[in-house]
């Protein structure tokens, strides 16, 4: 087969416009497939592997994440053996300057924050300023750089979930190994800004246990503690919580699989049609090759080889575009559902390219088989 590579390449590129369009359509489809794969892996298969992350549990209202829990739960949870620290926190939402400036904004208990996130690195004086100033806030450095925010600046969040606009003093910036586009501020500041009947609640409780092995048992104990309470809880690992957050988007897995299946089917048709057109134009040449001594198998292999070359190029291009898109999504995800860690891993690149090649080759089987089985006499009579 190596002897025929020149002929395969020349045939694959003989109609350059059609080949380029086919490569572009394969690239677009497999780029989408690559991005979907990266999203799926990030949402459902990636867990926070940091030692602290594996020890963190999230407790929320059993009914829904949008329902709050009484602040009194914090003291009760703290009593459970195996728990190192507990913190009440609340998603604030809001708008920073413009709605497009999306990033995570949480109200928290400052004295607990750095116990829950021991991997946050922050200057001691900035940490002290945050603990001291009720209107203080700390941000991830990447986030601060993105919006050109510096220590000492004043920033305002316009409330949307909560009917208040909050002004903050930037107390400090923290570093963390992964891109963390998150802003933390004092939950007390939020409560004091709200009417008295809307205070003293928490959207969720973040717990850090002494050992990752304690996690399941502690989670069970927390939920048991409030089983007969008016507000029941659901406790799960931080990664499971992140995954459940994704479920707000609907049956994401089904969407991803459906889109992937549609892409695969489309590529089968596109590739099959291109190769069929290409073969139809060259029926006579197939006859010539056979006359010169090429067997049916060799003719078929060469046609399949053309499809493989075109789909390989499409897959490679799609992979490059998908990798770029993943970088873009990761940069602009703003901490949403761990997407800031999204990347097209090498194994995904291999999977995308291999899928493209397999689909392209499979799509060409029928036209290749038809061409290889055409008799010399019929092929030579064909006037195209």
């Amino acid at each position: 087969m190596a002897k025929f590579i020149t002929l395969v390449w020349k045939n694959a590129t003989r109609n350059r416009r059609r080949s380029l369009l086919t490569i572009a359509s394969i690239a677009a489809s497999f780029c989408l497939l690559g991005v979907l794969m990266a999203i799926y892996v990030t949402l459902f298969l990636t867990t926070d592997e940091s030692p602290a992350g594996s020890r963190r549990l999230v407790t929320r209202n059993r009914i829904s994440l949008t329902q709050v829990m009484p602040i009194s739960y914090e003291g009760k949870i703290r009593q459970i053996p195996g728990i190192e620290s507990v913190m009440a926190y609340q998603w604030f939402g809001g708008v920073y300057k413009e709605p497009k400036n999306f990033f995570a904004r949480f109200a928290c208990e400052p004295d607990q924050l750095f116990k829950l996130y021991p991997d946050y690195r922050i200057a001691e004086d900035e940490k002290k300023a945050f603990l001291k100033d009720r209107a203080g806030t700390v941000l991830g450095r990447d986030l601060a750089n993105k919006f050109n925010i510096k220590v000492g600046d004043k920033i305002t969040l316009k409330g949307d979930i909560f009917p208040v606009d909050l002004e903050f003093n930037v107390s400090g910036l923290f570093d963390v190994d992964k891109n963390e586009e998150v802003m933390w501020f004092n939950i007390d500041y939020l409560w004091k800004s709200l009417p008295s009947d809307r205070r003293d609640f928490a959207g969720a409780y973040l717990t850090i246990v002494q050992s990752p092995d304690d996690g399941p048992a502690v989670a069970q104990q927390i939920d048991s503690l409030f089983r007969n309470a008016q507000v029941q809880t659901k406790t799960e690992s931080e990664s499971a919580f992140a995954a459940s957050f994704v479920s707000f988007l609907g049956n994401v897995k089904l969407y991803l699989f459906a889109i992937s299946a549609a892409i695969t089917f489309t590529i089968l048709l596109v590739c099959g049609n291109t190769i069929a057109m290409s073969v139809r134009e060259r029926v006579r040449e197939v006859g010539i090759l056979k006359t010169l001594g090429f067997t049916n198998g060799e003719v078929m292999s060469m046609i399949l080889g053309e499809a493989t070359v075109i789909s390989l190029l499409g897959g490679l291009l799609g992979c490059v575009v998908a990798w770029t898109l993943c970088k873009g999504i990761a940069t602009s995800a703003g901490g949403f559902a761990n997407l800031e860690g999204m990347t097209l891993a090498p194994w995904m690149c291999v999977a995308v390219i291999a899928s493209a090649m397999i689909m392209g080759t499979v799509a060409a089987i029928i036209p290749a088989l038809g061409a290889s089985r055409t008799s010399i006499i019929d092929a030579m009579r064909y006037s195209g």
């Binding site: 020349k10 056979k290 010169l292 001594g293 067997t295 010399i376 006499i377």
Partner: protein
């Protein structure tokens, strides 16, 4: 008498088109010896091309027997026939039938790709064949960059590149002007006389047939008994 290279007995070919049967060849007998240059003539539909296809193992007979170079072709499967064609037969077509995306030398190299020759040996052999037909300066030209006569000479170079025992030519001058046709026929004649190639040529052209050593006539699928010897 030299060795018999083609021996056909009661050769019949019936094509089925829908519910109709077309008797393209009917109990045809022919014997061709090594070194002969045979022109097959006859009106359209007389069975010339069909006989040529059967001799070249491009098609299978409905009945009868044909042995070429001592090989009973009916006993070979499709893959064996393909390789047999590659080793023993060189083809020259009316429409040249070059691959448009390949250069002259790549076209000539094509049948050599099925041999055990190395890439370098293949290119050397292809170049030799092209020089033999006077196209040593057109090696890297594509078919579209050549005249009809030059294209046919590339096709002849491709036909002789594997040094086959038999050359089969189907109306080789049909698409050429008078001068190019004469050049091509002189070349075939040279291959026959100087290199001892056995040539079977189907033609309508009486002038072209005059270059052969023998003219046979077909009519309504049957071989006529008369034999002409134009160069006698």
């Amino acid at each position: 008498m030299s060795e018999v290279v083609i021996e056909a007995r009661k050769l019949t070919k019936i094509y089925k088109r829908d519910e109709f049967e077309v008797h393209a060849l009917d109990n045809c007998d022919i014997e061709i010896h090594r070194g002969e240059f045979v022109a097959l003539m006859g009106p359209s539909g007389s069975g010339k091309s069909t006989l040529m296809h059967l001799i070249a193992a491009m098609d299978r007979a409905t009945s009868g027997r044909i042995a070429v170079l001592g090989e009973d072709l009916s006993q070979l499967d499709d893959a064996e026939l393909a390789r047999w064609r590659n080793r023993h037969i060189g083809f020259i077509f009316q429409q040249f039938n070059l691959i448009p995306v390949l250069t002259a030398i790549e076209n000539v190299e094509l049948p050599l790709k099925l041999t055990s020759l190395s890439g370098k040996e293949r290119m050397q052999q292809a170049e030799t064949a092209l020089k033999l037909v006077g196209l040593g300066d057109r090696l890297t030209h594509f078919p579209r960059q050549l005249s009809g006569g030059q294209e046919q000479r590339v096709a002849i170079a491709r036909a002789i590149a594997t040094d086959p025992d038999l050359l089969i030519a189907d109306e080789p001058t049909g698409n050429l002007d008078a001068q190019s046709a004469k050049d091509v026929m002189l070349m075939l004649q040279k291959l026959n006389k100087d290199f001892g190639k056995t040539i079977i040529m189907v033609t309508h052209d009486r002038h072209a047939a005059e270059y052969a050593t023998m003219i046979r006539h077909l009519e309504k699928g049957e071989m006529k008994p008369e034999i002409e010897y134009p160069q006698a």
